[in-house]
Amino acid sequence: MSSTALDTAKKRMRFLLILSLAALLAIAGRLFWVQGINASTVADAAQADRQREEVIAPTRGSIVDRNGTLLAVSVDRYDLVIDQRDQRDQFRRAKRDGTNGSEFIGWDQAVKELAQILDQDPAELATSVQPQDGAKPKGYVVLAKGVTPEVKNEVMEVGIPRLSPLLRSERQYPQGVIAGPLLGFVRNSEDQTSVVGAEGLELSQEKHLKGTEGSRKIEVSADGVRIPVTEVEETPAVNGQDVMLTIDSDVNYVAQREAEKKQKQFNAQWVSVVVQEVKTGKILAIGDSAQLDPNDPGATDPEFRRSVSITRAFEPGSTGKAAIFAAAIDQGAVTPKTEFRVPNKYTVTKETINDSLPHDTFDMTAAGIFARSYNTGTVMVGNKLTKKQRYDYMRKFGLGSPIYLGLNGASAGQLAKPENWDRRQQYTTMFGQGYSQTVLHTASIFQTLANGGERIAPSLIEGYKNDDGSVTEPDQSKTSRVVKKETAKEMLKLMEGVVESGTGTKMKIPGYRVGGKTGTGQAASDKGYDGYSYSFAGVAPLDDPQYVVVATMYRPQGSWKNFSVADTFTEVMSHVLNTYNVPPSSTKSEAYDVFVGKEQKKPW
């Protein structure tokens, strides 16, 4: 072998070696890249390819009353869906009589059994189970919606192939109509698998009730079957919070029942009964005469699907005098014993104020004017204050701004600025006309007076109960001082006079000292004043006020002289006092004299 040949061979070998080394280096480099530097990306890609993510739906929170009674709860329901395609004439199933073995059954038999379980007409059901007369078989036909798990299990036993249950959450209201307009109702979510709030608390508390979705990550092989040994990554769903209300469902029942009864008695457009705790501002009951069953909201007139107690503003009439008298006493303009000569007609700045019934001219105390609810006297009292002063007090009592309880559609009422009051309005606002408010505003005014002049914003939500049992408190109710403590005390005596010897003598409750104010207001429509509102707002027991009950009837039919909500008020108030074991009053009445002088019994 020549040396050149040897050199060539060596060169070739070296070349090959270098080539191999280069290839090796490339492979090693790639390996290093894949395993070392880019490892996580590649692993992720592989993981993503196998991984499937399932959503775990959270359970919607319940709504409970203050005693823990369930008012709204979410339950599991199933939709039964059948795929009509590729079905044979007969199918095999496990025997239903409990014995072992299987049997073949035909469609007629299956439909018959199905119809019996679902309580549907067999002929009608057959049309949805099987395609009719050569029609193209459908892939998705809903046979029944929202069936209970028991029914679903029974249906599955029939063994119809390609009949599948779809789980969905349904909202139920076990108490029926109790607090219906407050709870509101729900609608199906976009994907039809759950529900979302549509009205009332269900809507306003949506973010609390809803909860957070969880997820479950599983790995599946190429054929779609789950790989059993792989790790399951599970983020549990956080169930919605339970909303605890300040409502007592028993009291609410009584309020609703009495409201309904009163509505029927006078054929009123609506009647509302509101019960509020004096010391906390918490709403104990809101009873509307129109019943709403949240299980079937469509059965109720749309107008009454929200609580009228917070959505409907009306001119309150004489209950509005309470704010004016409180303002006058608070400003020191009058005392309860300040004397007035009260005629039947009183003309001031060319505006004549009439009393509802003709009466003689009386020498009365301020307290007496309040007790007998004379408009003329009230104007004399109110005139001791400026328009601005009265307006400011009315605003402080909460008039003219909506009371937000967590319910949508809360009405602010209408309270014009004093500079915009016309010549008559400046007087009518003293006796509850010329501005409007809701029943809840009335309750809030009387709560303020009964609570020593301190207004606590009404609240409906006691707290939110988390999944682990802990309770999250809602934001504290705003408190504000409206009138002095002494003023509030005097106002209670004035209210007692109403029940003792004034317009509210039928409101007495045996054993308890009761105070309050009646109110007959004219109700306006676009045709002018063509109806009435009639109400009584009362507080008991007066020695240590605990509860406010406001009974209001809107547009009752018949003569206003016959209107009465006495039985409504006394029934609800005595029920509340009994339920909460309020000790009876042990002190004597502190009502002031109505008239100046000895003689107190004078004709109306």
Binding site: D76, E150, Y253, D293, A299
Partner: protein, 260 residues
């Protein structure tokens, strides 16, 4: 090469070689075989020759067998353990699924029972039952002053049955539709009071109880009349008047006036 051979020899001492190589040329003589154990010390530059390996004795053979068996057993047990673990993990997964199903079934059962209990204890349901049992609302309770042991107020007697103002069981029961309730009430009222007029209730103040009953009946019969006069067409659908159908359009929502 030579370096390595030398190193190996010094290390083991069991392997050696005869001087069969002289420089780079092989010797002509064929060396006598020598037992590997008796190899003499070597010159470093000499090549290692083949030699007889001493026979492995019996004990070594047996330990080898034991070793192999042990290894096989270990390997086998590892495989079995792995398989068992895999199965148990898989089984666990099935257990989890079945427990989950069980949990769902139980919670559904719980839901159903709870709901039933709540519906049965709803105030209006209780009121209805109480009424059926002949219970009436109590009168005002009596009051005893504990300070001076005096009766400050004696209890009122409850008003019996029909006269009792607190007419319980007027609200629809849970699960009872408001529509059904209205219908049922109308039927009842029809048989009792055929044609009461609307709004006569408030005129007579003396008998509020009977009045309330009348007006209740009247409002309900009005509702009933409306539904009763609705004709049903052959196809099972109710017949609406043209005015009711509003020309086939849905009326725009009306603004709710607060004073209305």
């Amino acid at each position: 090469m030579t370096q390595r051979a030398q190193r190996r020899v010094t290390k083991t001492a069991a392997m050696t070689a005869q001087t069969v190589v002289d420089g780079s040329a092989a010797r002509a003589v064929r060396p006598e075989p020598v037992a590997a154990s008796e190899l003499p010390e070597l010159d470093s530059r000499q090549r290692v020759t083949l030699s007889l390996v001493p026979r492995i004795n019996e004990t070594n053979k047996r330990s080898m067998l034991v070793m192999v068996i042990a290894l096989v057993v270990v390997a086998f047990s590892v495989i079995v353990t792995l398989v068992l673990m895999n199965t148990s993990v898989a089984q666990r997964q099935y257990d989890i699924v079945s427990l989950r199903n069980q949990e769902r079934v139980l919670s559904q059962e719980n839901q159903a029972l709870l709901k039933e209990a709540q519906s049965l204890s709803a105030p209006q349901a209780l009121a209805k039952k109480a009424k059926a049992l002949g219970l009436v609302a109590p009168g005002a309770p009596g009051l005893v002053d504990l300070n001076d042991n005096s009766i400050t107020k004696s209890a009122d007697k409850a008003v019996e049955a029909e006269g009792n103002s607190a007419n319980y069981a007027t609200l629809p029961l849970p699960g009872q539709s408001i529509r059904e309730k209205a219908k049922a009430d109308t039927k009842k009222s029809e048989s009792k009071a055929p044609v009461p007029t609307v709004g006569n209730a408030s005129k007579d103040d003396a008998k509020p109880a009977t009045d309330s009953a009348d007006s209740k009946n009247s409002t309900k019969s009005v509702v009933k009349d409306e539904s009763a006069t609705r004709k049903i067409a052959d196809d099972g659908r109710p017949v609406f008047k043209d005015s009711e159908l509003n020309g086939g359009t849905i009326p725009a929502p009306m603004i709710k006036s607060p004073t209305n």
